[in-house]
């Protein structure tokens, strides 16, 4: 029997055993859909995190106080010394390094914002005018912290706060109280929404000196540094580390990380997660494979006399094997295709429901899902097909 006839005849069989076929196809489809959807979620999460983190800025290098290394630790610790804090002077020194395009020192804290009888606790960022370009922030009104005027009491409001505190007025030029000091509103941030679990619509930004005064500190939370170019990132990182080591009496008591390194780590972790999730989903396909095998074994038992007839008509064992094989192939092809469609449909639904999550199934996962389904089907049909082909024609004809 040629390939075309084998495929046609087995398709006819698959179609005529409707309930049985639907059940297998469903099991297969659910397995494939699970692979597609779960990897879409995993990869969507990865893209989301990476995207959000990239949008923080370009060519960024972060400077944090303290060593983040687990090995060795801070060498002075044994002598009872505490690591030196990061200061505004450190930040200003870094700004002059040739690989550094600009830098913004950062302090973060919480304070009460009051105006016209309204009161609200808000997150306060202390920084300089450079924060705006480094963080790719945008203003909807007014201007950002003026350059070189760190000692003037200006404040930039997040868009939600601007609406809340000045519901019908022009916030720019108005006065507002933060903690115990009065600030002049210089600008309002464009609405940005949540980013990295941080809602920039509900923050205020004040000059770094005021922030340090407000929080009664002379240390920094972070220094954000933008390297001159992509190729300057690593040199900038080395130069910063070197400069700060010199400034800190030879102690390596700060951590300098690049945005790329953090991105790469996120990317790696979330890719591994996606892969793991795909693996788990693939197990459901293996279960579907066992189902296919069982159903095919039952089919062989049910169709014993038919197999006997085919043998009596002169069908060689190979033809009979191929017929059952093709049957399993159809079932898993249908399961794979429907599962693929179902998975993509679900991923589309997820993207509709959560527009910020780019839940696109990765191509490798869809391919692997469908391929696994087909492979499982084929493997599962090997034993039943071989059993059918081996049947003794006389016994098979009598249905034994």
């Amino acid at each position: 029997m040629n390939l075309r006839d084998t495929l046609t005849l087995s398709l006819q069989t698959v179609v005529s055993y409707r309930t049985r076929s639907l059940l297998i196809v469903l099991a297969m489809a659910l397995g494939v859909a699970a692979v597609v959807v779960l990897t879409a979620l995993g990869d969507g999460a990865r893209r989301y995190v990476v995207g959000q983190f990239s949008s923080l800025g370009t060519n960024l290098v972060f400077v944090l106080p303290g060593r983040a290394e687990t090995s060795g630790g801070f060498p002075g610790a044994a002598l009872g010394q505490t690591p030196r804090d990061l200061t505004l002077e450190d930040a200003r020194f870094i700004a002059h390094l040739p690989q550094v395009k600009r830098m913004a020192p950062l302090n973060v804290g919480v304070a009460e914002l009051t105006s016209g009888g309204r009161l609200r606790e808000v997150t306060v960022l202390g920084s300089t005018s450079e924060l705006l370009p480094i963080r790719h922030m945008k203003l909807s009104q007014g201007s950002f912290l003026a350059h070189g005027s760190e000692r003037s009491a200006q404040i930039v409001l997040g868009s939600t706060l601007a609406h809340e505190f000045f519901p019908d007025g022009e916030p720019v030029g108005q006065r507002i109280r933060l903690g115990d000091s009065r600030f002049l509103v210089s600008g309002v941030l464009a609405p940005q929404g949540e980013s990295m679990g941080f809602n920039s619509d509900e923050i205020v930004i004040i000059p770094i000196d005021y922030a340090q005064e407000l929080f009664n500190t002379n240390t920094l939370f972070r220094i954000l540094v933008e390297a001159r170019s992509r190729t300057d990132i690593e040199p900038a990182k080395a130069a910063i580390a070197h400069a700060l080591k010199l400034r800190h009496d030879g102690e390596e008591d700060v951590t300098v990380i690049t945005q790329d390194a953090i991105l790469a780590t996120f990317d790696r972790i979330l890719r591994a997660l996606t892969l793991g999730v795909a693996g788990i989903a693939a197990i459901s396909l293996a279960v579907a494979g066992i189902l296919v095998m069982n159903v095919m074994l039952v089919a062989v038992a049910q169709r014993t006399s038919e197999i006997g007839l085919l043998k009596a008509l002169g069908a060689p064992a190979a033809d009979i094997r191929r017929l059952f094989f093709a049957e399993a192939l159809w079932l898993s092809l249908a399961g794979g295709a429907i599962g693929y469609a179902l998975g993509n449909l679900s991923a589309w639904g997820i993207r509709l429901a959560y527009p910020t999550l780019p839940a696109w199934p990765p191509h490798w996962a869809s391919l692997a899902g469908v391929a696994t389904a087909i492979l499982t089907g084929i493997i599962a049909s090997l034993l039943p097909a071989a059993r059918a082909a081996r049947l003794d024609p006389v016994l098979a004809l009598s249905g034994k």
């Binding site: 006839d5 043998k311 008509l313 002169g314 069908a315 190979a318 024609p393 006389v394 004809l397």
Partner: protein, 223 residues
């Protein structure tokens, strides 16, 4: 031409041995019309299965159309069955999912004949067996006589040299059974060797050669 020499077929059931065929010597010339009769369990079906290469004897020699087919491999036996043998069974053995036409088409498919030629030959067979208006019915929608006609059409579509019928009328009433026998005899007249196993004396008597079996042996062979 069929030539069996000292054919033995032994079935083992636990420690019991059944000699279903016990040293059968039998020559059947091409174009003969033979009936095989005998009590239940005498080995008629087993003999037919051996002749049809469905079953293999434990010992003895089988020559079909001049060549030794005793020790052929399963694949070779399948090819000989396809090319030279047509089976007709008591219980018809139609594939329930397939229409009458598709059932008749099966051997052509197995033989790898092109679809266009298949359609033409199936149409001719449907015509010859008066099944034209039943072509697209499934077996469940056919009468017993029609089912057996489909089975005979299927058994003969590849023009086998020998047609082996194991109680072809066993599931049919007398009138329909006679019609089916007449159909088979028509094929015999066209040149096919016809071997019929039957319990029906009257039908058996219609053959030109009568073989009687008992306990796995041929006890009478009359022309």
């Amino acid at each position: 031409m069929i030539r069996l020499t000292a054919i033995t077929r032994v079935f083992r059931m636990g420690d019991q041995e059944v000699r279903a065929l016990n040293g059968i010597d039998l020559d059947i010339a091409s174009g003969e019309y033979v009936s095989i009769m005998g009590p239940s369990g005498s080995g008629k079906s087993t003999l037919l299965n051996v002749i049809g290469l469905l079953d293999q004897p434990n010992s003895g020699r089988y020559e079909l159309d001049g060549s030794d087919v005793t020790d052929l491999s399963e694949t070779e036996r399948a090819r000989v069955r396809r090319e030279k043998i047509g089976f007709v069974f008591q219980s018809f053995h139609l594939v329930p999912r397939l229409t009458a036409a598709e059932n008749i088409e099966l051997p052509l498919m197995l033989e790898g004949i092109a679809p266009a030629e298949r359609t033409a030959r199936v149409d001719a067979a449907l015509d010859a067996f008066d099944l034209k208006d039943r072509a697209h019915h499934r077996p469940a929608e056919l009468s017993g006589g029609q089912r057996q006609r489909v089975a005979i059409a299927r058994a003969t579509i590849l023009r086998p040299t020998a047609l082996l019928a194991d109680e072809p009328t066993g599931n049919l009433d007398h009138r329909i059974g006679t019609e089916v026998m007449e159909l088979l005899e028509g094929l015999h007249h066209a040149g096919t060797t016809l071997i019929v196993v039957t319990h029906d004396r009257e039908l058996g008597a219609r053959a030109h050669r009568h073989i009687a079996m008992r306990d796995g042996e041929i006890v009478a062979d009359e022309k």
